[in-house]
Amino acid sequence: MPTIDPRSFDAYVVASGFLGEAPVFALGDGHVRLVVGETDPTVEAHDGGILAARVAADGRSLLTAGDDGRVVRTTADGTTETLFERRGKWLDQLAEGPQGAIATASGRMAWVRLADGTVVEFPHEKAVGGVAFLPKGLRLATATTDKAMLHWVTAKGAPVDLPWKGAHTGITASPDGRFLVTTMQEPALHGWRIDDMKHMRMTGYPTKVKSISWSAKGRFLATSGANAAILWPYLSKDGPMGKAPLELGPRDRIVTSVACHPSEDVVAIGYDDGMIMAVRFGDAAEVLLRKPEGSPVSALAWDAAGVRIAFGGEGGEAGVIDIRR
């Protein structure tokens, strides 16, 4: 039976994760909370709210973007470093590329900050709804109104438009770099195969998709927004076209958060009543990790070993689930 080490914060949990062994939580009030031994140090990372956050790919620091116009790196010892700053701007997008590059956006502008501190600007005609790097880090993908775009980060060259009517509110690139997928204002995803710009429509959701997660090796894209976790297959060269998605953990509640296991074909699913389950892809076997309790699950993340899950809710309920015990 899994155990839960609960925490209660007095702010919305924007993101969770692990810095090495230490669970970490990014909160809507601008604080970063580390769970270290008996104490949970509070790091005042932002003067304002945190709007986007993610653990860096090396697992050693948390990156946060806030309404104070800063992108901040927080390490497990509680030290912070401001990586990027635009006073007065709400930075509500955040992506990390290889070689220490980060991308963020506010309104109609996206920025990439390279590891050496150089900043490259990417102006848009309409608001930037999401940013993501392609795997090699040479190109930045952005979501905006009526299209996604691919920009060269440092190389010269005009950006490429990937048109699709509607407001695109988030973007992700498949781990193999062959597909781009956006979340939309409508309850749907839209995708493109980058090689030939072939469209992929992923519809049928009752609500907007707000949480997405690629499974190990990019075999499936897990998504929230329905009464089950919807997993689109990306195994073949055509992606999910013409194939039915997996529907895992069906309930009469809405899935608000998904996190795929780092190596196994398992997804952790958080619902709008606070319940959390882990479900195996192959046989849809379910393990209850947290009973329905509190507010909608807003943050969910596995540790690198795939044995613990840090979770958080809109109302500040949080904790660490250990599936070994």
């Binding site: 919305y12 809507g28 309404d67 709400w90 608001a127 109104t145």
Partner: protein, 323 residues
């Protein structure tokens, strides 16, 4: 009201053409000691003279919803900012959205109907339009936006009344009421108004539609040939099924011309008051509360719009009366 609606954060939309006094009002809201904390979403950062971490600068970002409805435009920037603000819930009591002087209020209002999350977590409290007594007549003549802002308003802050004569003031008020008889007019000088008259009005203002007499609309004393007018329909109990069928059809057919629609409906056999409101083609309804024992069960529905087919609306409405 459901518990979700009760915990929803009230949002006030502040409109008004340039120079009417919007910024003065906003600065008063931000600087006065009224015991409440407001998150304010503005279009021109520089104009608000108060340093406040809950003042957010935005670029209007209007887009059409992909639902085949030509007038379903929403403000994408507001959706994002409100989502961000919800992560700081508890740090503020209410939200105020300032629109630019030339803005069409429809996309702002529609955002509160069309986006599920915004609808679940916030509540459109009132559209407050600031106009100035001296210049309103001229603005209405030369700008359809100014007329629309009056048409959309729940509350009209009639500012700079000290700059006009009593006769001029009466003419301006008659003009406002000719466009939007349900709006509550608050007269001020330099926006010196008790803020409780403007903010967090809730359902209070909806009840006004039962107070304003429809006969008023017959009077023809308008100074110009305005195209925005209102129609007020009244009855006793209504049959629910034909009513919903008719409201949906009427708003689809006349949606582009409708600015606001609001009403309180007495459905046959229903102990609760049903309230509806809409913008263009979008209509939303909810049970509000029980009819009180001493309250007359009356249905009142108001349409405000441009070139509306009044005869068709009236005939359709009449056909839904309960026998």
């Amino acid at each position: 009201m459901t518990s979700a609606a009760a915990s929803a954060i009230p949002v006030t939309v502040l409109t008004g053409y340039l120079g009417a006094g919007k910024t003065t009002l906003l600065n008063r809201i931000l600087s006065e000691d009224h015991g409440k904390k407001y998150a304010v979403i503005v279009n021109e950062f520089g104009e608000v003279g108060i340093d406040n971490d809950l003042v957010v600068d935005t670029d209007e970002e209007i887009f059409e919803m992909n639902n085949g409805c030509i007038c379903c435009t929403v403000r994408g920037d507001l959706i994002r900012i409100l989502e961000g603000l919800m992560k700081r819930k508890g740090k503020f009591d209410a939200v105020i959205i300032e629109t630019t002087g030339l803005a069409d209020p429809a996309p702002v209002a529609q955002t509160f109907f069309m986006d599920d999350e915004v609808r679940a977590k916030t509540r459109l409290d009132a559209i407050v339009t600031v106009v100035d007594a001296k210049n309103l007549m001229a603005r209405i003549e030369d700008s359809p936006e100014a007329e629309d802002q009056v048409a959309f308003a729940d509350v009209i802050l009639l500012n700079k009344v000290d700059l006009v004569s009593a006769e001029e003031l009466a003419r301006v008020k008659a003009e406002i009421l000719a466009i939007n008889p349900q709006a509550r007019i608050v007269e001020t000088e330099r926006c010196a108004v008790d803020l409780s008259e403007v903010l967090d009005r809730g359902a209070f203002d909806l009840d006004r539609i039962l107070l304003v007499e429809p006969e008023f609309l017959v009077a023809d004393h308008h100074s110009h040939d305005e195209t925005v007018k209102s129609i007020s329909l009244e009855a006793g109990d209504m049959e629910p099924e034909p009513f919903f069928e008719w409201v949906n059809r009427a708003t689809q057919e006349q949606g582009p011309n409708i600015r606001r629609m609001k009403g309180i409906i007495a459905f046959k056999g229903d102990p609760e008051r049903y309230v509806v409101q809409g913008v263009h083609m979008i209509v939303e309804g909810n049970h509000q509360r029980d009819w009180k024992p001493d309250e007359e069960r009356r249905t009142r529905l108001v349409f405000i719009g441009r070139d509306l087919d009044f005869a068709a609306l009236k005939a359709g409405f009449e056909a839904c009366k309960a026998a």
